[in-house]
Subunit: 273 residues, 2 copies
């Protein structure tokens, strides 16, 4: 009998079913500088919601507030269905460790996506094909090495060599795929929406203390749409509009190679510079 | 002695101090088609947080999930400080009526805005001056009449006359001021960030059943910045990227006339078309 090890992403975002209380754990494979990769935490929270017996519909909106560092190891997810309507659900999730204070606070909306008038005023940005771009090299934070980043624009220069020059563009356009290919689903869209390097790193061309404070992702494709897309990568763009008094913004889009806008995302992040 | 009636906006977003439980009420002056104007609800929640004795710092991020209709009258705000750090606070607010289910669920981040490297890669869009544009006429929902909307681009045509034509642009650029001038603060920024007409109305050139499901606003100016700006209106732009399976997005910016980006906002909304 052939057995197949689960994808590292599915292992990292695994949850143990409870009733209102679920369990997850951090993963050494998706580790950032001082804690777990926020995208993996977000996807774990989303998985607990998707797997919840009372869940109906598809993820429409997910907001994650990163309140405090998450330590290596297990965590609890307190999952609460705040309000259910005929075609939508509102959820609240609190992540705690060892019975302590809340480390992550999330709200989510799920919805039955009914057929409607459909219109996508913007087109997928043009980009050099995935196959024609070199993968971004492996770096220290393990999470980044689980992804195959291929920059079509805004290739990172975080050397600090030009940090006192005129600020560089904060815009990036890149293909994002799991390093070991994995079909794109809502979980990977959530994680990938937090997989952009800090906009301030691009603008200042150097690394510095940085942390996402709050991220919101909207899903524009439901499970049926994603099955129909049948893809293992997205074309992702991100930009920033302001860096001021220690916080900067980011807005991004995740596109299917075929040109469907799958998700839009925005975040506000702390930086020290 | 001269007494001065409070501004209608301050009256509409008034709260009665409690400990963890605050009270607010809907206002006939800020009424939409089937319930209170969401921006007023959002500002009322923000006011309860700003007035809270444990609050420190300025609003950085506010997410409001509209879970169920709010009936005319009083409501309770269950305000909870979920986590406080050295320079930031994470809050959760639940709005209920008559001890019933949650109608609105909000999370907020407050932060002490410390001096830092500052950079605003985008400039304020050019626009015909406020004084040179006619105010948008009064319409049925009272909330809209509390604002002085002056469209520089994307003037609304919701007549339905051209609804079967090629979709119109969802982009709008307009000045927004309180009809009775009021100094711009975080409360009015929050409310104004929900004061755009539905993008789908613009794209389809007609009104239809519509409701914001979730809105997130990031504040890029703190109280000191706003005092220094000393303004009574903003230049506001909004656009949409997709309408699909009964939901559409919106992203917007609120600019000071002097060119500072005060807030960015995004929302996902239900529509029936």
């Amino acid at each position: 009998m052939l057995t197949k090890a689960p994808h590292l992403f599915d292992d990292a975002t695994q949850v143990t079913a409870g009733d209102s209380r679920w369990q997850g754990k951090t993963s050494a494979d998706y580790w950032a500088f001082v804690g777990p990769f926020g995208g993996a935490t977000a996807a774990t929270i989303l998985r607990a919601l998707i797997d919840h017996p009372e869940r109906s519909g598809d993820p429409l909106s997910l907001t994650i507030n990163f309140c405090a560092p998450i330590a290596e190891g297990a965590f609890d997810l307190d999952v609460r269905l705040v309000k259910a309507n005929r075609s939508s659900q509102h959820w609240c999730v609190e992540l705690t460790q060892g019975g302590g204070e809340v480390a992550t606070l999330a709200t989510a909306v799920f919805a039955e996506r009914r057929p409607s008038w459909s219109h996508q005023p913007v087109e997928r940005p043009p980009a050099t094909p995935f196959e024609q771009i070199q993968p971004f090299p492996k770096i220290k934070p393990t999470w980044a090495n689980q992804y195959d980043f291929r920059f079509a624009e805004g290739y990172p220069d975080f050397s600090g060599a030009k940090k006192d020059a005129v600020p560089a563009s904060a815009y990036s356009k890149l293909w994002i795929a799991d390093r070991v290919p994995r079909k794109i689903d809502a979980l990977s869209l959530m994680s990938m929406s937090d997989a952009f390097f800090g906009r301030v790193f691009h603008a200042r061309r150097e690394l510095m203390p940085f942390g996402t404070v709050s991220i919101t992702t909207y899903f524009h494709a439901d499970a049926d749409d994603l099955v129909a897309e049948d893809i293992t990568r997205v074309l992702a763009v991100a930009d920033a509009k302001i860096f001021h008094k220690s916080y900067g913004d980011q807005n991004g889009e995740l596109w299917s190679p075929n040109g469907c806008l799958l998700a839009t995302t925005t975040q506000i992040a702390y930086f020290k510079a």
